[in-house]
């Protein structure tokens, strides 16, 4: 018998047994729960005020990707792997853009119409393929987003290759920054709340094992359609917002970036928690900006950073932080049999 050491993980404080029932008995325990929720929110709201205009714009971009990542994560929770966030984004952008360009409606109307209308349109478009699972569903979403670009290019509708320009801008940068931040936070906390209700439980059940959910008497296609509506409406909002933010809608709204970047954000941040999706986007987008100093090698370093994140923390940054916050590790002596 020899003596070895093993790392042991121990739950900290009140995070002892249940995931959703807390017995709060002291000021400290309240802080233990509230600080990790309130502190990031406060930081997010304060940072744009101190970093200057350039970085405030980077934050807006990060928020747009964060909204798409949140919408991806919600659909993923219900078992829909999407490679078509660009489809939702582009449809939202084009609805808002054309309403503004042709009818002259202000952003206060175009954005809500694009959000709801985009959600309905995308849900109708994809409802015939809700039966598909996994990679098959993903391929359809990808194909549709690529198809829309070519339709616009070939038929020259909605501005064709030039796009629609001179759209109404937002009143100021601060409106842009705080509107996008608030929507990220609303989606983040809203989705986290939703997924923990019985309704959300059904969605997670569909993601894990749809046949077992069907045998439980749940019409999974109806629930998937609802999730698709919420997910695509949120992504369409991001598109509509970006149209007015950039004051132009073009074929770039369907660019593959809007499908892949949210996916990368979720993988880096950690899926299934929404916080991971938002965190991933808020890390990756500013990182990409910070690497501009490398000019030609920027993408190389960006990809390297991504690989390092994924290899070192395959569970995702958020899962890692969460575990470190709720548990501590210590070495314990164990007997090793030879």
């Amino acid at each position: 018998m020899a003596v070895g050491y093993r790392r042991e993980r121990i739950d900290r404080g009140i995070k002892a047994r249940c995931d959703d029932i807390f017995a709060l008995s002291s000021y400290r325990e309240v802080l233990y729960l509230v600080v990790p929720r309130v502190l990031p929110v406060l930081l997010l709201l304060v940072i744009p005020l101190v970093v200057g205009i350039y970085w405030a714009k980077v934050i807006v971009m990060a928020c747009i990707i964060a909204i798409l990542a949140l919408s991806w994560d919600l659909m993923f929770a219900a078992g829909m792997i999407s490679l078509g966030q660009a489809l939702f984004f582009g449809i939202g952008a084009y609805i808002a853009g054309s309403l503004n360009h042709y009818l002259g409606l202000p952003p206060a109307f175009t954005i809500p119409i694009a959000t709801i209308g985009g959600g309905i349109l995308c849900t109708l478009l994809l409802s015939p393929v809700l039966r598909l699972r996994g990679i098959y569903f993903a391929m359809v979403t990808l194909a549709l987003s690529l198809m829309f670009v070519r339709i616009i290019e070939a038929t020259r509708i909605l501005g064709g290759t030039e796009g629609m320009t001179a759209l109404s801008p937002f009143p100021s940068l601060w409106v842009e920054v705080y509107l996008s931040l608030i929507v990220v936070l609303l989606c983040l906390f809203g989705f986290r709340r939703l997924i923990n209700t019985d309704y959300g439980l059904v969605l997670r059940g569909i993601g894990e094992n749809d046949r077992a959910v069907m045998s439980g008497g749940i019409n999974i296609y109806w629930y998937k359609a609802q999730t698709l509506f919420i997910g695509s409406a949120v992504a369409a909002f991001a598109g509509a917002f970006t149209a007015h933010y950039q004051m132009v809608v073009g074929m770039a709204a369907f660019a593959l970036d809007y499908s892949i970047l949210p996916l990368a954000a979720v993988v880096v941040g950690g899926s299934g928690t929404f916080a991971g999706a938002a965190l991933g986007a808020l890390i990756l987008v500013p990182l990409s900006e910070a690497l501009r100093a490398f000019v030609g090698l920027r993408i190389v370093f960006y990809c390297l950073a991504m690989v390092i994140f994924i290899v070192a923390l395959p569970e995702g940054i958020f899962h890692y932080l969460q575990r470190r916050y709720h548990q501590f590790e210590r070495l314990v002596e164990v007997e090793v049999r030879k």
Binding site: L201, V202, N209, A212, S215, G216, G217, I218, N219
Partner: protein, 251 residues
């Protein structure tokens, strides 16, 4: 004929490529009957269940439940009509606590209509149901993540999930496979109790001794065909059944 039978399976067939999994099977079931469904491996028992519950669409034939044609309906539609099933391979939601696994059938339109219920109430109902299948209420077992539970518990959780639907017809697909003797012994009374409550049951089982104790009728399948139908004693004495299980003598 309407209303005479509870479930009527009429000339049901299903072919997978070159294999005829279920070949013109017909039978009917009275309310309150306890039907055992047996047969060698690959004889089409699970496919028959999948055909009845809508997970597989039949090539021909009809399934009539309480006078209503349910052939080829969606599984959730059939479940909402009161036919609940377990899966031979357990299909729990591994990442959820055991009691949350039961929330999904409790959230179905059928149960909502029968008993209503809100967020918190459903949790209580779920834990009551788990207690019925032998999850100790005062232990932490019902709150444990399903993925961490032993196989025997998962099998009984399947049964509880089935009962959560408040079914009229319960179909158990090899519930006892992979259970220890003591687990079987503790699960039998639950099934007997369901039988006493007047539930109609169809049970696929390889443990014939346990099955024959409770079943009042047995159907034997071989190569997708029904080869015997009768009381356990009749079935055991049937020549066709002996051949199917023991094989014919070499020529």
């Amino acid at each position: 004929m309407k209303g005479d039978y509870f479930l009527k399976v009429d000339d049901l067939s299903k072919r997978f490529g070159g294999v005829i999994a279920v070949d013109k099977v017909s039978f009917d079931l009275q309310q309150g009957e306890f039907l055992g469904l047996i047969g060698p491996n690959g004889s089409g028992k699970t496919t028959l269940v999948n055909l009845i519950t809508g997970f597989v669409k039949p090539d021909s034939g009809k399934v009539i439940y309480r006078g209503k044609d349910i052939t080829g309906r969606m599984p959730y539609t059939i479940a909402n009509l009161g036919i609940a099933r377990t899966f031979q391979m357990v299909r729990p939601f591994y990442h959820m606590p055991a009691y949350k696994n039961l929330i999904i059938p409790l959230y179905s339109p059928r149960v909502k209509k029968l008993s209503g219920g809100k967020y918190g109430e459903r949790d209580h109902v779920a834990i009551d149901l788990l207690e019925d299948v032998g999850f100790e209420r005062d232990s932490f077992v019902p709150y444990k993540i399903a993925g961490s539970l032993p196989h025997g518990y998962l099998k009984r959780m399947e049964l509880a999930r089935c009962m959560a639907l408040r079914p009229d017809l319960i179909i158990l697909d090899e519930l006892f496979s992979g259970m220890s003797m003591s687990e079987v012994a503790s699960t039998m009374p639950i099934i007997e109790k369901l039988q006493e409550e007047g539930k109609t049951m169809v049970v696929i089982e390889h443990r014939l001794r346990e099955l024959f104790r409770v079943a009042n009728r047995v159907i034997v399948l071989n190569f997708g065909r029904k080869i015997a139908d009768g009381t356990p004693a009749e079935v055991m004495n049937s020549e066709a059944v002996k051949k199917a299980y023991l094989g014919t003598e070499a020529e």
